[in-house]
């Protein structure tokens, strides 16, 4: 058992390293990805909220003050970028669609694991660098951020990443049944952007929508971790986030297993 765990650990560590090295290979690309884009996005969102409060009739909106919304505007794009999977989902879908998945199927590693470890490696390195932007802005503007809550918040985000990867896995599996699945990726990611609370804090939505969004697991990607981090929400909310992600992983994981087994059974690999 110990030997098999050691092999599992070594294998996945190597893949995570691969994810890191691949993305650091083109440094200018990486700098833009990790710094420039977050700075631009945060800048635009902050300006929007400043304009809203400049003309607002009250010092508070929905029970929270300007600094609270600025904290949201600064951290939401950061969390949103961590918890979305464009690149690796596209790569997985392409592997299935083109048949190059054969090379992975013939290795002693699962397709799911192969990309999960790489994605975690990539997200780790991007998070480490791009987190400097919201942290620096929060310190400079004295935004209400509870830094001692950051580790458990990032733990929820990492846990949510597993769910994100399962969804990516499901979309790529569709390639066994359909010829083109690119539109599923676009539709899923845009929907998640709305449901996660990246666009606008969920507590500003009408009550019925707020309840629905908090019931769904996707709010654990941006809104719940950020609400806990900035003091908009308490530990109970964070626990709800962990619970929601758990049931979603169980349900979607089950679907993944079923669809994967059926897909592989009917798949004919003809790659040279």
């Amino acid at each position: 058992m110990r030997t098999s765990f050691a092999a599992f650990w070594r294998r996945n560590l190597a893949l995570a390293n691969l994810g890191i090295v691949t993305n650091l290979e083109y440094r200018f690309n990486f700098i833009i990805d990790a710094f420039i884009q977050p700075i631009l996005t945060v800048g635009i969102e902050v300006l929007l909220w400043l304009a809203i409060f400049k003309t607002a009739e009250h010092a508070q909106i929905g029970g929270f003050n300007r600094e609270s919304y600025l904290a949201y505007a600064v951290w939401a794009p950061f969390l949103g970028r961590i918890t979305i999977s464009w690149m690796y989902e596209s790569m997985m879908a392409e592997e299935v669609a083109s048949g190059s998945i054969n090379t992975i199927l013939s290795r002693p590693i699962s397709f799911f694991e192969y990309y999960l470890s790489q994605m975690i490696g990539y997200k780790l390195i991007t998070t480490l660098f791009s987190m400097m932007v919201p942290v620096a802005v929060s310190i400079y503007f004295k935004l209400p951020i509870f830094y001692e809550r950051l580790p458990i918040t990032l733990l929820l985000v990492t846990y949510y990443l597993v769910l994100v990867h399962i969804m990516s896995f499901l979309v790529s599996i569709l390639g066994f049944y359909l010829t083109r699945v690119r539109s599923f990726t676009i539709l899923k990611n845009l929907t998640l952007m709305l449901l996660s609370g990246e666009l606008v804090p969920i507590d500003l939505m009408p009550k019925s929508l707020e309840k629905l969004f908090l019931f769904l697991p996707f709010s654990s990607g941006v809104y719940i971790p950020l609400a806990y981090l900035s003091g908009r929400g308490d530990f109970e909310l964070l626990k709800t986030g962990f619970f929601n992600v758990t049931w979603a992983i169980a349900v979607l994981g089950l679907f993944s297993i079923i669809f994967w087994k059926r897909g592989v059974r009917q798949y004919t690999g003809t790659g040279a």
Binding site: Y26, F28, N29, I31, I32, D33, I36, Q37, L40, T41, I44, L47, L48, L50, A51, I52, T55, A56, E57, I61, G62, L178, T179, R180, V181, R182, S183, F184, I186, L187, L190, T191, M193, L194, L199, V200, L204, M205, P206
Partner: protein
């Protein structure tokens, strides 16, 4: 005139080929349309939710902001139909060397690179956002409908900003080997155009009107429709496309002079 007819017939052929390619995978096509509606809805929902808690953002109330948003989405839908897919493929063309083949064709290289693929799945969005514009204007008391005529100049001006900006960024892919990052920069920059210029103040606003003129995408056209006419804005809207296209052509020629084929 003959030249124009030649380009129109080529464009017609591109349209037919794109239509056939998009319709081939019907489920994918339907999901693409739904995805576009989701994207446009998110932009609307953002402001609808914000206006539940405030009456004015920048200079505009909800009715005025709806005009701005629908106008921004309308211009965006035209851009998406005509050019976006081509620009997405640009980096691959440079990296894989297929750019050589496109440059060899006996037609204008900029036309070839920007117009080969037409996104049919965005056509429904074009009609919906146009209807949204009309609807939002109809909500305004005493709107002078003749002002819509200014859009004949201002919508092309906004499109020229998007076209030239994206094309110029893509040209830069020729100078760097791998330039995926330019797409990221573009998506971030384009967000500037999806927000009303009133949220920017002072120097930044001037930059957005004159230097990186994303305000021309929807903010300035919306101001022309919603506020007393400022003729300098219209004049700027007429002059801007000529300046941008001239600069873009020069930059394109420079990038081509630096181009070393990847296919050899």
């Amino acid at each position: 005139m003959n030249n124009l007819l030649k380009y129109l017939s080529i464009y017609k052929a591109f349209f037919k080929a794109s239509f056939a390619a998009d319709i081939e995978y019907r489920l994918n096509f339907v999901f693409l349309i739904i995805a576009e509606f989701v994207w446009y809805s998110t932009q609307l929902i953002l402001f609808e939710v914000l206006y539940r808690h405030t009456n004015v953002i920048g200079d505009w109330n909800l009715q005025q902001m709806r005009v701005f948003i629908f106008l921004a989405l309308f211009v965006d839908s035209i851009y998406m139909i005509l050019w976006d897919q081509n620009f997405l493929a640009f980096n691959d063309n440079v990296r894989k060397g297929t750019l050589d083949l496109l440059l060899m064709k006996p037609i204008d290289s900029m036309f070839m690179l920007s117009s080969q693929r037409i996104s049919i799945s965005h056509i429904p969005c074009f009609f919906i956002t146009a209807a949204g514009c009309i609807w939002s204007l109809a909500q305004l008391p005493d709107f002078n409908w003749l002002k819509l005529l200014w859009l004949i100049f201002l919508v092309p001006a906004g499109l020229s900003v998007i076209f030239c900006g994206r094309f110029a960024l893509n040209c830069t892919a020729i100078l760097f080997t791998r330039a995926d990052f330019l797409q990221y920069v573009w998506f971030s920059l384009f967000r500037l155009g999806l927000r009303p210029d009133a949220i920017y103040s002072g120097f930044l606003r001037i930059i957005l009107i004159f230097v990186v003129p994303f305000a021309m995408v929807a903010s300035i056209p919306a101001r022309i429709l919603l506020e007393p006419t400022q003729y300098w804005m219209i004049a700027w809207g007429i002059v801007l496309p000529f300046i941008l296209v001239t600069l873009l052509k020069k930059y394109w020629r420079y990038c081509l002079s630096q181009y070393s084929s990847a296919s050899s």
